[in-house]
């Protein structure tokens, strides 16, 4: 791979991490379950479906590093080292893994299905299954609850995340149509 291509990927990784921060500033949309949904976890799915497994995961790691260094870029203006000690820290550690899974599935499945469907499946497995696996494991570790009790506390967020899966699929399709040359994850 030429140096120019590599540099281009690093720029893309950094700017997508900045995009994740910007998504955290979109006013949260109040949702039926009473829990407002933020666009940031949608960004995690998009990092995978759009940048691909490796670059999407690297972009998420970069974002978490900047949060750990003290930037309050998580949705709701949270950040700093404290968020990695809280009951929801597992979700943060999940970001790179969720993006990786979403990217890998999108790429693998897009040979059989349309890109939108492939991205939807990728976003679902990465953004919900992987995300909640880590999130609940982290919650368990901090609070010492069982899997079932942890899930009971978290379930309110799941409907909102399901909406994001649909959005991630639609946005991925739209971006691939708008910028066929930049879209490399297929």
């Amino acid at each position: 791979m030429s140096d120019i291509t590599k540099d281009k990927q690093i720029v893309q990784i950094a700017i997508f991490a900045a995009l994740l921060a910007a998504l955290g500033f979109i006013p949260p949309i109040p949702f039926a379950t009473g829990v407002p949904i933020s666009a940031q976890s949608l960004g995690v799915m998009l990092a995978g479906t759009i940048l691909g497994a490796r670059n999407g995961a690297l972009s998420m790691i970069l974002f978490l590093v900047v949060v750990a260094l003290g930037a309050n870029l998580l949705a709701g203006g949270r950040g700093g080292l404290g968020v990695f000690a809280g009951p929801t820290a597992g979700f943060l550690f999940a970001f790179p893994f969720a993006a990786f899974t979403a990217g890998l599935l999108t790429r693998t499945l897009s040979s059989q299905f349309s890109l939108t469907i492939a991205a939807g499946i990728g976003a679902f497995v990465g953004g919900i299954i992987v995300m909640y696996l880590f999130g609940i494991a982290g919650f368990k570790m901090v609070t010492g609850r069982t899997w079932l009790e942890s899930l009971m506390i978290m379930w309110v967020y799941i409907p909102g995340d399901a909406v994001k899966v649909v959005l991630a699929a639609a946005v991925t399709g739209a971006v691939a149509r708008a910028l066929p040359s930049s879209f490399t994850n297929k």
Binding site: I15, A22, S182
Partner: protein, 203 residues
């Protein structure tokens, strides 16, 4: 926006970042297995004391716990109901102490000081041949472009509202991503025109 740092000079600001982070790591390891109510209560008191020693702006930072309030309450209630008051307090107290101590470091350490520690922690990667300057470059790009993307987002949101868009804000996400990718192509061209991302340590 952008940073939790409190611009003032306290005793905690003067401590080197490395020492603060080391103390946090020790406190985390020591507190994790603690079951005694009095130790946890002491730790909570010491932590609150640290915030008080930072002055009014330090105490004001305790509001960072507000978004966690309902979840904390649910955890406390569940623990109280299944295990009893002592266990519930130990769990809640430990969680509060670890979150607040970690946050105190972010409040009293500038991001560039933290970055020095981070670059030091990357040393093993450098031995493996990873060009860590490229990671540092990516970090500064990210910090530089957050305000740019936030302004893109506000412009799209304003346009959406001007067209009579309701609360379906998500309509702006696809154009936002397209703008971000387009801009990243332009930035990559600019970087290439300046000779690419620095590779060696001297840069």
């Amino acid at each position: 926006m952008m940073s939790l740092y409190l611009a003032q000079l306290s005793w905690m600001h003067r401590l080197p970042a490395g020492i603060k982070l080391f103390c946090l790591a020790v406190a985390t390891v020591l507190l994790y297995p603690v079951k005694e109510v009095w130790i946890i209560s002491l730790a909570v008191a010491i932590t609150l004391g640290i915030y008080a020693s930072l002055g009014r702006s330090g105490l004001a930072q305790l509001t960072l716990l507000k978004p966690l309030f309902w979840m904390m309450l649910a955890i406390f209630a569940l623990q109280y109901w299944t295990m009893g008051l002592a266990e519930a307090w130990v769990l809640l107290g430990r969680m509060l102490v670890l979150i607040l101590l970690a946050n105190a470091i972010s409040m009293t350490t500038r991001m560039d000081e933290m970055n020095v520690v981070f670059q030091f922690l990357l040393t093993p990667l450098r031995w493996l041949g990873v060009k860590t300057q490229r990671i540092a470059f990516a970090l500064s790009l990210l910090i530089r472009f957050v305000p740019v993307l936030v302004s893109f987002m506000h412009a799209l949101l304003a346009a959406w509202r001007a067209r009579g868009g309701q609360r379906r804000y998500w309509q702006i996400i696809a154009p936002l991503v397209v703008q971000a990718l387009r801009m990243s192509d332009q930035v990559a061209e600019a970087v290439a025109a300046r000779g690419g991302i620095p590779n060696n340590i001297k840069h």
